[in-house]
Symmetry: C2
Subunit: 432 residues, 2 copies
């Protein structure tokens, strides 16, 4: 049922001039947004305010005259802007500012994945209650119009699975370990030197950035009431160069994969390093690009890829949302889509597994491992051992037939107690 929200303005008051825009945050993305708005010189969008802390050091002479530069957020709230573009990031004060903006009759466009992942449903509700729009196309995969594609373009399908590469930093690091034959630490250092890694590298490499994006995608595409903490999340820190050598032997590569799937009334959601076939869309994304693959009951697989981060691509998503808003700001706000309520949430995917051991070699190791897996009713698929490694720290791999992750981890807990390990075993799902 379409319900009519309380209109904040009467029809007669509807503005017909350009949509007035306040930029809140004038960093890399903010400057790109201003540059695009300036270069469009459009009749439908007018930049009227730029807010930033210590705004004087931000002031840019290429921004048109008449724009008010301010470091007092109340100047934005008390103005007649139609839309506030929040580009500050983080939960607070961004969340407070978004809330105040909506309560003051201003629609909001944001690129803030953490805020939307944590408080999206509540803020959308607030926007609806005020007959306003809250748009966040830039919060996932930057310039790739995947949220719109899933919500509107594939709205007629029943999507049951999404998987993707949502963090360009991890993709860069893993690609570098693979292609430049360097260690994780060296690849991370390179990424930081090139400015790919965000201020807190843990956000990226430990999966918190990707899980926020996956949360938003799952809500949009799978209509699932997911919270970021419910996503089974694992770091890529354990991945070594040797793992790529073995992955290649299996026709695969290793990527940080975010995935969510609805099966038997359960939503499985996870972010972790995984083996993916080299011929798959997930493996082919290079450098800092992003890709999202959706699978629908009627439309099958659809792939979206492109630049998932960076000032300009993210600004494209912001300006696209602004243009949509300028055309639709007086249209009825869509009713809330109630998330499917009977889904339980789990990270306990059933998949094939790759387990890499590093051992001080001696007779009987394989028998001991096979014995534990057998007791846990896990079937060994293959054993891979490349020549040329030291017997003192011998890396080899066991692949396992599909089983639940938790079952595997129970077996690995036992295996870790065995005495021949030089390093703890590393396990990753093999996605097909």
């Amino acid at each position: 049922m379409v319900t009519s929200p309380k209109p904040i303005r009467e029809e007669a008051e509807l503005a017909t001039g350009p949509c007035k825009v306040a930029l809140v945050g004038f960093g890399t993305v903010g400057r790109s947004v201003a540059r695009i708005l300036t270069s469009r010189n459009s009749q439908d969008l007018q930049l009227t305010h730029v807010f930033n802390r210590n705004v004087d050091r931000k002031r840019a002479d290429w921004v048109q005259n008449g724009v008010q530069w301010t470091q007092d957020f109340d100047d934005v709230l008390n103005s007649d802007v139609d839309v506030v573009v929040e580009l500050v990031g983080g939960l607070e004060p961004a969340g407070e500012w978004v809330g105040h903006s909506l309560k003051s009759g201003k629609s909001v466009v944001t690129a803030n994945k953490q805020l939307i992942a944590r408080r999206g449903p509540e803020l959308l509700q607030l926007a609806r209650a005020n007959g306003l729009h809250l748009l966040y196309g830039a919060s996932v995969a930057g310039g790739i119009p995947v949220l719109l594609g899933l919500q509107e373009g594939l709205g007629g399908d029943r999507i049951h699975r999404i998987s993707g590469i949502l963090n360009g930093t991890c993709n860069y690091i893993l690609s570098q370990i693979e292609n430049a034959h360097i260690s994780f630490a060296e690849a991370l250092e390179q990424a930081q030197a090139k400015g790919f890694a965000e201020a807190n590298a843990s956000e990226d490499i430990d999966g918190y950035d990707a899980r926020a994006k996956l949360t938003i995608l799952a809500r949009t595409a799978l209509n699932a009431g997911l919270e970021p903490e419910q996503v089974a999340t694992r770091s890529i820190r354990e991945v070594e160069e040797i793992d790529f050598a073995y992955a290649h032997d299996l026709g695969c590569t290793i990527r940080q994969i975010s995935r969510a799937e609805v099966k038997d009334k359960t939503l499985f959601a996870g972010v972790q390093p995984a083996l993916v076939p080299q011929a798959s869309a997930l493996a082919r994304v290079t450098g800092s690009q992003n890709v999202i693959v959706s699978a629908g009951e009627f439309g099958g697989e659809t792939v979206f890829s492109g630049h998932g981060a960076g000032g300009d691509p993210t600004a494209v998503a912001v300006v696209s949302d602004l243009l949509w808003l300028s055309r639709n700001r007086h249209s009825r706000v869509a009713a809330e889509a109630k998330p499917t309520s009977d889904l339980s949430i789990s990270g306990d995917f059933k998949t094939a597994h790759y387990v890499r051991f590093k051992v001080a070699d001696k007779p009987g190791i394989l028998a001991a491992l096979a014995n534990v897996f057998s007791r846990h009713e896990i079937n060994v698929d293959a054993v891979l051992q490349q020549a040329g490694h030291s017997k003192a720290a011998l890396p080899f791999v066991i692949t396992l037939e599909p089983c639940r992750v938790e079952k595997l981890h129970q077996a690995l807990a036992e295996i870790r107690k065995l005495e021949f390990h030089v390093a703890p075993p590393v396990d990753m799902p093999i996605l097909t």
Copy 2:
């Protein structure tokens, strides 16, 4: 400037119930649409009419009771349906029915690429004049939400190039010549046996289907006033298995590529077989899938791929349009986007070229060819000749540095008159 169209209904009359839908055409796509609508059992869309010639042989018992089956189009026009879904295809009578529907106050959703390519702007104008919507997301690339992605999702960018694989039949045929090592004629026969090739195979293989889609994409993404006849269009009939062998030597494969690019106030538009790098997104699309790559000034390259044809994927696009309409049917109709008026249109791309000869071998052939190219100021890049072919019909390839197509064709017109040819030379662009 946003202009307000004449509203066809007063605000007070606005229906708030479900959006009533008439299906016009109950073939593969129509049945899929009905099936999705039936399985959604949604509150917002209600199938009320199915129109088809000789409707009695089409009647399906799984369609809910209460739907009126008719072979008289006036039953649709005189009903209270909100939207007519045109799935008849072809220019007439589909065009007449779409026009009558819009004049009778009914919005239209269509999958008809030929109609939209030829009469889209005029029919959109008619829809706008009546305050109605004409949506055609299903007309290009079936289930891939690329029109929406380009128009709305990347609306904030300035897109200057689109290229893609828009015809699954050609992609299947070329893939089969490449992988099954069969002739064009055999591959076409297979495609027809499998039901991939449309009734008139020429539509597909000679590029008319793809050029209609490219026309619609170029209007949407490049804001260009393009007509299908202005697209430089070449058949894939000349491509032979030997061309794949040489393409592979160049790190490429051969695909039917549709592309449009704005450069120096000229819109270049073409549909033709071309060499594309094996590592590119265009090369990786297999079987009957479609892909579209857009390039924007700010967002860089964005890739959309998936199922571009078939009943269910096309129906997903239709139902997605219907859902959009059910939410937005009373919203203001967007003002006409005036196409950029100062673009001249050309098929005379500047690219590198592949030219394959088949000759009765004798001394002096290469000198003669080099001589002609030199006189036309075209630089030869490389000469490729694989061993093991008969001297009586020797295939070899010359690659040329970038030059305009027309210049090449002038040189080839001279070359064709030389006496050593066993078959006419075949030229294709090499895209990088």
